[in-house]
Amino acid sequence: MTPAIRTNNLTKYYADIRGVENLDLEVATGEVFGFLGPNGAGKSTTIRVLLDFIRPTTGSAEVFGLATTADSIEIHRRVGYLPGELALYDRMTGDELLRYFGALRDVTDLSEARRVAEVLDLDLTRTIRSYSSGNRQKLGLAQAFLHRPELLILDEPTNGLDPLIQQAFYGLVNEVRAEGRTMFLSSHVLPEVERIADRVGIIRGGNLVTVASVADLKAKAVHRLELRFGETVAASTFEDVAGVRSVTVGDGGRVIDLQVEGSVDAAIKTAARHELVNLISHEGDLEEAFLAFYAAPGEEQRAQ
C-alpha cells in the first residue's frame, strides 16, 4: 500500500543554514504520526516541503505516492493543513474564512468545519481580528478539517489551546484515527504526542534521531520528581532505586530532585517511607526525556 507520506533522503538548506538533512520518513495511511522535536529542529521545514511551499535541496518527498514538486495541487486537494505560524485574514469573521476556503476547494458543505469549530468552542461570528491566539488556532484547525481530508498535516496543533480544548482536540484525533484517515502532527511536547500518536519520529538538529512506537517510548520516558520532605533525607536513599537516573539534593537535604526513567513506582514507595510534605511530578519534556538517550555520545553532556 502506498504510504501517506514518504521522504527520500530529504535535505533542505536555506542558503548555508540547515533545515533538514537526509531525512527518510515513512507514514502509513491510517496512522497518527507524531513528529517530535525542539523548536528549530526542522519540523516545519519538512512539513513545508510536503506542501511544496519550499523545494528540497536534494532528495525528494511524496504524498500518497505523488511527488510534492510535480503534483502539489492534487496533494493540496487531499490534505488539510494547519501552519505552525498561523496567520489568517484579520478582517474576515471565522465563518467568512471558512466560506472562502470552502469555495477555493469547491466545497459548499461547511458542516464539518462548523462542527469542529463547535467541538473546539469557537464563535465563528466574530472577526478574526478580535480572536485570541487560541481562537485563531481553533479556526486554523476548523479550516484544516473542512473538506474531510484523507491526510491532516498539522504543525503544532495544540499551540495556544487551553487544556480543556486540547482534550476536545484529542477527541477529534481519535475520530480521524477511527475513520482510517491519516494524521501527521508536529509537536515539541512529549506527553501530547505520547497521548495521541501511534508512532513518533524524533527530529533534532535537522536529523531524524529515531522513529518508534509510542509504547516503546513510554517505557523509556523520564519524569522529574521534586520531593519536599519534613526531615533531611540523604541522596543515597534513592541512588539504587529502580528507574532513578540522577539525584540532586537541595535545601539542606529537605528537597530532592529525581530523574526517573519509566515507572515512578519504586521511587515513590521509597519516598513514602519518609515524611513527605509535597511532591511535584514534571512530565519529562523532550530535552530531558529523549535527547539523553538518543544524542550522540559526544553531545550527551549538552543535552543534559
Binding site: 506542501l51 511551499f53 493540496h76 493543513y81 496567520a87 474576515m92 472562502y100 469555495a103 477555493l104 479550516q143
Partner: protein, 235 residues
C-alpha cells in the same frame, strides 16, 4: 462574495475603496469648477505662468502657458498629468503590493496556497481585481468630466475624455503591475511600495524634464510610451 481570489480581493477593498472614488471625483470636480474663475483672470494667470520656469510647466504636462489656458490643456495638466493619475497609480500600486507582498507580509500565503489552487491563478486573479477596480476609478473621472463638461463650458471632447480616462487605467496598471512583480519577486511589502512609488515619481520627473535636457531627451520615448501625459497623447 468570497467565492474566489478575485472576488475576495475586491471584498478586501469594500471599505476603503469608496474614499478613493470620492477623492478622485472631488479632485476632478474641483479642478473643473475652477475653470470659469481661471478664465476670468486669464490675463493675470497667463502673466504668472510666463514667469514660471520652463521646467515647472513641462512637469505638469503643459507645453507652454497657452496650453494651460485651454480647457483640455488645463484638465490634462491638473488631472491626467498630475493629481488624478497619481491617485490612480497609487491605488493600483497598493493593490499590486497587497496581492503577493501583502499576503507574504501578513503571513497568510501558506494557508491560502494550501488550498488546491495554482500559484499563477492567485497572481492572475489578483491582477484582474486590480485592473477592475482601477478601471472603475478611472471611470469615475470619465463620468465626472462628461457631466461637468457642459456645465462649465470647458470645451472637452467626448473622445478626448474617453481616451484620457482609458489612458489613465493603462498608466496606473503599468505601475500596479510593476508592484505586483516586485512583490512576487521579493515578497517584501515596504520594499515593493518603495520601489514602485519611487519609480512612479522618477518617471514623472524624467518625463517632465526630458524636453529641456538634451542628454536625457531620449528617455521621453520610454516615458511617453507609458503615456504619462495621456490627455496630450489623446486630445
Amino acid at each position: 462574495m468570497l467565492s474566489s481570489v478575485f472576488r475576495k480581493t475586491i471584498w478586501d477593498r469594500r471599505r476603503g475603496y469608496v474614499w478613493w472614488i470620492v477623492g478622485m471625483v472631488a479632485i476632478t470636480g474641483i479642478t473643473v469648477a475652477f475653470w470659469p474663475t481661471l478664465q476670468r483672470d486669464a490675463a493675470v494667470i497667463s502673466e504668472l505662468l510666463e514667469n514660471l520656469p520652463e521646467g515647472m510647466m513641462s512637469l505638469f504636462g503643459a507645453e507652454d502657458a497657452g496650453a494651460f489656458l485651454t480647457g483640455p490643456g488645463y484638465v490634462n495638466s491638473r488631472v491626467f498629468a498630475s493629481v488624478g493619475s497619481f491617485i490612480a497609480i497609487f491605488f493600483a500600486i497598493s493593490m499590486g503590493t497587497a496581492a503577493i507582498a501583502g499576503e507574504e507580509d501578513k503571513r497568510t500565503m501558506d494557508v491560502l496556497l494550501a488550498n488546491p489552487i495554482p500559484r499563477h491563478q492567485v497572481v492572475l486573479e489578483s491582477f484582474a481585481a486590480m485592473a477592475a477596480l482601477t478601471a472603475v476609478l478611472a471611470a469615475a473621472v470619465w463620468v465626472t468630466l462628461l457631466l461637468a463638461n457642459p456645465l462649465v463650458d470647458i470645451g472637452l471632447s467626448f473622445a478626448g475624455i474617453t481616451a484620457a480616462s482609458f489612458g489613465m487605467i493603462l498608466l496606473a496598471l503599468s505601475f500596479g503591475t510593476l508592484a505586483l512583480m516586485i512583490g512576487a519577486l521579493t515578497g517584501k511589502r515596504s520594499l515593493t511600495i518603495g520601489v514602485a512609488s519611487g519609480t512612479t515619481i522618477a518617471t514623472f520627473f524624467i518625463n517632465g524634464l526630458a524636453p529641456l535636457i538634451d542628454s536625457i531627451k531620449w528617455t521621453q520615448k520610454l516615458t511617453r510610451s507609458l503615456c504619462l501625459q495621456p490627455a496630450i497623447c489623446a486630445v
